[in-house]
């Protein structure tokens, strides 16, 4: 009988020690993880909307409002995603009040980007991303559709996904821009082809 009770007790003791040790480790690392997560986001937001000094999160993990020194809202940052070849491509877009895209940031493989490795990752190269900088909504189109974006050879699906993602994001979040949003209202968005006859040229 002794050996049997010793069996249960030994398991119990080992579990106790393990539980104690783990809880100590958890409490120590928890703070660090939180800090890590926070400044990770801050870094990305400021990267995408450089002029903004501080951000306020309005929709959990999808929309932030950017403010400059004297707390004027100068733009928004939003996260959009579109179905790529092997999975959704998360994109972070910084949009100034004048609906001009400042910068965009695509999550790297580390952040769970599931694109076909090698080819799919080309969308993260600055040469492709630069095409989107300082562009208006209308210009975010493939060259053949009247826009200014050149797709990457051999990974059209991913390039299209990025373009559609950004367009969908702008359409959805432009109402949050506080500047002269009326000029944006009369955009007639033809959702089928995504092409728009905006009266921006005037």
């Amino acid at each position: 009988m002794k050996s049997l009770s010793w069996m249960a007790i030994s398991l119990f003791i080992v579990c106790l020690i393990a539980a104690g040790l783990l809880s100590r480790v958890y409490t120590v690392t928890k703070i660090q993880i939180e800090k890590q997560k926070q400044d990770g986001i801050q870094k990305q937001l400021s990267q995408v909307l450089p002029e903004a000094v501080s951000f306020r999160e309005t929709i959990d993990d999808t929309l932030w409002l950017g403010f400059d020194k004297d707390n004027q809202q100068i733009g928004i940052v939003f996260r959009t995603a579109w179905q790529g070849y092997a999975g959704p491509i998360p994109i972070l877009v910084g949009l100034g009040n004048d609906t001009v895209i400042r910068k965009i940031y695509i999550a790297s493989a580390a952040e769970g980007l599931k694109e076909t490795p090698g080819l799919g990752f080309k969308i993260r190269e600055t040469s492709f991303l630069e095409q989107f900088y300082n562009k208006m909504y209308k210009e975010i189109q493939l060259v053949k559709d009247g826009g200014t974006i050149h797709a990457i050879t051999a990974s059209t699906i991913s390039s299209n996904a990025v373009i559609n993602g950004i367009r969908a994001g702008i359409e959805r979040f432009q109402s949050n821009l506080d500047g002269d949003t009326n000029s944006v209202q009369d955009l007639q968005i033809d959702t089928t082809t995504g092409a728009t006859e905006s009266d921006y040229e005037k």
């Binding site: 539980a19 783990l22 809880s23 999975g87 599931k114």
Partner: protein, 196 residues
């Protein structure tokens, strides 16, 4: 992940097959799949344990760990449950179902170190499945595991007679054959729009 049960089943069963695409459960895969009967015995044992493990771990996670905010204990608790579960099942089978035990009993200790079982329990939690969906997910994975192991053991039995140089006999040729089977399974990506 999709919430349509059929899609989850197919994703777990073929598209994201647990052995060939997710690289899990390779140790038993190469160890046990030498003959058809052992492969079949192992897959039934795995199915049996995977289902029970998913139910038990899912309930423990959602009714014990989550409310108490002890998620960090997840690894320890899950693997402890699986290890003792395997011993329970082994003794239970030895006692009541002698025939079943003699057919599949020797594989049960192997299952404790089978990465596939623990991985399925973790994925079921990470994908935030409800209990029913988690069961379907586990079922899909177990059948996927069984399918690949049985299919592969037939290949390996045939490989016994293949005229090979001495250094390729045994594991090397098994790996290369597995590579071809994995290549075939890669073809399933995008079936019903399911991502890799």
């Amino acid at each position: 992940m999709t919430t349509n049960p059929l899609l989850i089943f197919i994703a777990a069963f073929i598209v994201n097959n647990i052995i060939l695409i997710r690289y899990l459960g390779l140790c038993p895969f190469f160890g046990v799949s030498t003959t058809l009967t052992t492969a079949f015995g192992m897959s039934t044992a795995c199915l049996f344990v995977m289902l029970i493990a998913t139910w038990v771990t899912w309930t423990i996670y959602h009714f014990l760990l989550l409310p108490l905010d002890l998620i960090f204990l997840r690894t320890a608790v899950f693997i402890l449950i699986i290890a003792t579960l395997v011993q329970f099942v082994e003794i239970f089978l030895k006692k009541n179902f002698k025939a079943l035990y003699s057919a599949m009993g020797i594989y049960l200790p192997l299952i404790t170190t089978n990465c596939a079982i623990l991985a399925v329990t973790f994925l079921a939690i990470d994908y935030r499945f409800s209990l029913i969906l988690a069961t379907i997910f586990a079922l899909g994975n177990a059948l996927g595991f069984g399918l690949v192991i049985v299919l592969f053991s037939a290949i390996r039995e045939r490989l016994e007679f293949a005229p090979l140089s001495r250094s390729f006999k045994g594991y090397p040729i098994a790996f290369i054959a597995a590579s071809l089977v994995a290549l075939a399974f890669l073809g399933f990506i995008g079936l019903f729009g399911l991502p890799l």
